[in-house]
């Protein structure tokens, strides 16, 4: 890269070292301002709100609502709210299905794509990545219609075989049905991340093993998977964070089934408390609990896997 020297005047050049220290801060300023305004301040504001409460004083139609300090009242209410806890329970069932299946399929497809001489690799890679372009809400809409007995192709096949409709959106099938939407949307992206890191493994590594007679299965298990472990940790982390914030999918499915309550997952309950019940303090406390929970889960995951996933240093 060449830089035109003639445009620089000597005077400018001399004055530069004096303000050199300010340069990185100048580049960081736009991000910094936005970070403070849209991340830091809302976090602090949520914390503040979570310790406040609206108290009605006076009583009767002339009671005045005023804001007061509430201490840990909202947090106690959050942790003793059976619906909020049940929401976490449902989230756990959903996550136990969605996260391992997404990662398992993503790893399987990535390893298959990386096999030498595999057929239809290009087509499959693109096809499996396509759902990433479909917003979660629209994916839920598509799958919702595929689940709905009156429009489901599965039921059409079953009915023609003389078997009655299968209800997907009720009973025990509901969790796999909702998880399936997340799996469908998530496999492709995670597959590509794992696949690109597989491509980053030097070829000599498998060549050497292959010459020594190792099967592709051995190569995958003993060479490839250990080497892409950091990518697996990262994709696992993002799947987990995604699971804790699931909202759009069950919301979209609600009109199609009676089984999804208004408070089916924690974020739905937070939304209801804030907007339908106007209890902002409780919603703020629940948000803080959810955010801290996510942070703790992420850190625990990173600790367990012992990977410096976001390796700082250099």
């Amino acid at each position: 890269m060449t830089v035109d020297v003639r445009t620089q005047t000597p005077r400018l050049r001399r004055s530069k070292p004096a303000r050199r220290w300010a340069v990185p801060y100048a580049f960081l300023t736009p991000a910094g301002v936005l970070f403070v305004v849209f991340l830091a301040i809302p976090i602090l504001y949520a914390l503040y709100l979570s310790f406040r409460a609206m108290k009605v004083t006076g009583g009767g139609p002339f009671g005045v609502r005023e804001e007061t300090w509430a201490g840990f009242e909202n947090y106690i209410a959050t942790f003793t709210d059976s619906e909020f806890l049940a929401g976490f329970g449902r989230l756990a069932i959903y996550g136990v299905i969605a996260v391992p299946v997404t990662l398992g399929l993503a790893l399987l497809f990535a390893l298959l794509l990386d096999l030498p001489r595999v057929r239809a690799a290009r087509f499959s890679r693109v096809a499996i990545f396509i759902p990433y372009a479909v917003p979660g809400v629209i994916a839920s809409l598509l799958w919702g219609f595929l689940y709905l007995p009156s429009t489901s192709p599965l039921n059409w096949v079953l009915n023609n075989l003389g078997i009655p409709d299968v209800e997907v959106l009720t009973g025990g099938a509901l969790f796999p049905a909702v998880a399936n939407i997340a799996i469908w949307g998530g496999v492709g992206f995670n597959m590509i991340i794992i696949y690109t890191s597989l491509r980053g493994i030097p070829n000599e590594m498998h060549e050497a093993a292959r010459i020594d007679g190792a099967s592709e299965w051995d190569i995958a298990l003993r060479i490839k998977i250990p080497l892409v472990a950091p990518a697996l940790v990262l994709t696992g982390l993002f799947s987990l964070i995604g699971t804790l914030q699931v909202y759009g999918e069950p919301m979209t499915l609600r009109p199609m089934t009676n089984e999804i309550s208004q408070t089916w997952v924690p974020l739905m309950k937070i939304y209801r408390d804030a907007f339908a019940r106007d209890d902002l303090s409780l919603a703020a406390a629940s948000s803080v609990v959810l955010a801290l929970g996510t942070l703790v889960v992420s850190i625990v995951l990173l600790r367990i896997t012992q990977k410096q996933a976001f390796g700082e240093g250099q």
């Binding site: 340069v23 298959l112 239809a120 499959s124 693109v126 907007f275 976001f310």
Partner: protein
């Protein structure tokens, strides 16, 4: 790296097994592999194909004819869709494009500048910034939507385009990726050489660093574009005026109204079909610019 030692030991283990049989298995395996891959492809394509087929059906055909048989109502559905609510669907599509387009361009630039500063400069507070951004990556942004809404309504911006656009501009993950990319793509010697030649810091950034960061920027742009396009909760909370909705929120309201009136079902279906086509085309066209190794490469540090 520990991986190197691991590899050599695994090679030693497999050496003992019969070489001939291993060869044969290795040559045969990809067929099963291809079959599994094709199954995955079918799984991923079926819902998309279904919505494309279903969008050709008129309302009565939707519930009566074979699901994968095209219907006769495509043109009627399209004209119904674009005339719904006096052209609301067109507005939603336009809004999605504005939010995702402007949001992604600006946040890519902001992330690139911040990533460049964090990667290529030593300064007091650098470590603090890095951990703040890392915490931002791990924190579910969506849990901030309610306090963001409250603050927006305090300054009178709730319900405006800005209330959706501005929070999208800060992307901790984008900054993180930009930092990873800048530290590997921009040699410090090149910057130093430009400095000795008398280039100012702005000039070094625009003529030396930026061109080297383009592949990383494209990836950040695409990730942000898809992320904003797919966002639901933020616009759902911030906006109340139907004409400002993006596609996700618009189609959601269409569907939830449709539960009472099944005639809206076919509108929701054609709406879903029309709104996923442009994004799928964009992904297919731009797929060779995706540098997702950037995402996994960030782990090697």
């Amino acid at each position: 790296m520990t991986a190197a030692t691991e590899t050599s030991s695994s090679v030693r283990i497999v050496r003992d097994s019969g070489r001939h049989e291993q060869r044969r298995r290795a040559a045969r395996r990809p067929l099963v592999g291809s079959a599994v891959l094709l199954l995955g492809a079918v799984y991923c394509l079926v819902p998309v194909l279904w919505v494309l087929v279903a969008s050709t059906k008129s309302n009565s055909e939707l519930f009566t004819t074979l699901t994968f048989l095209p219907g006769t109502g495509l043109l009627q559905n399209i004209s119904d869709l674009f005339s719904y609510g006096g052209g609301l669907f067109g507005l939603w599509a336009w809004n999605s494009l504005i939010f995702a387009g402007f949001g992604a361009v600006l946040s890519t630039l902001i992330s690139t500048m911040a990533g460049y500063a964090l990667a290529k400069f030593q300064f007091p507070g650098r470590q603090v910034w890095f951990y703040a951004i890392l915490a931002g990556v791990l924190l579910p942004g969506i849990t901030l939507a309610i306090p963001q809404y409250l603050l927006m309504s305090k300054i009178g911006l709730a319900g405006s385009y800005w209330s959706v656009l501005l929070p999208c501009l800060i992307s901790p993950f984008g900054i993180f990726l930009a930092r990873v990319y800048a530290s590997s793509a921009i040699p410090s010697e090149t910057m130093e050489a430009a400095r000795i030649d008398g280039a100012g810091d702005v000039r070094i950034f625009t003529s030396v660093a930026l061109p080297m960061m383009v592949p990383g920027m494209v990836t950040i742009f695409l990730l942000q574009f898809v992320g904003i396009w797919n966002n639901f909760l933020l616009p759902f909370i911030m906006l109340s005026d139907e004409s400002k909705y993006p596609l996700t929120v618009g189609l959601y309201t269409l569907l939830s109204k449709g539960s009472g009136t099944p005639s809206l079902y076919s509108l929701a279906i054609i709406g879903a079909a029309v709104s996923i086509i442009p994004l799928i085309i964009m992904m297919l066209v731009l797929q060779r610019y995706w540098r997702l190794d950037l995402v996994s490469g960030g782990l090697k540090g």
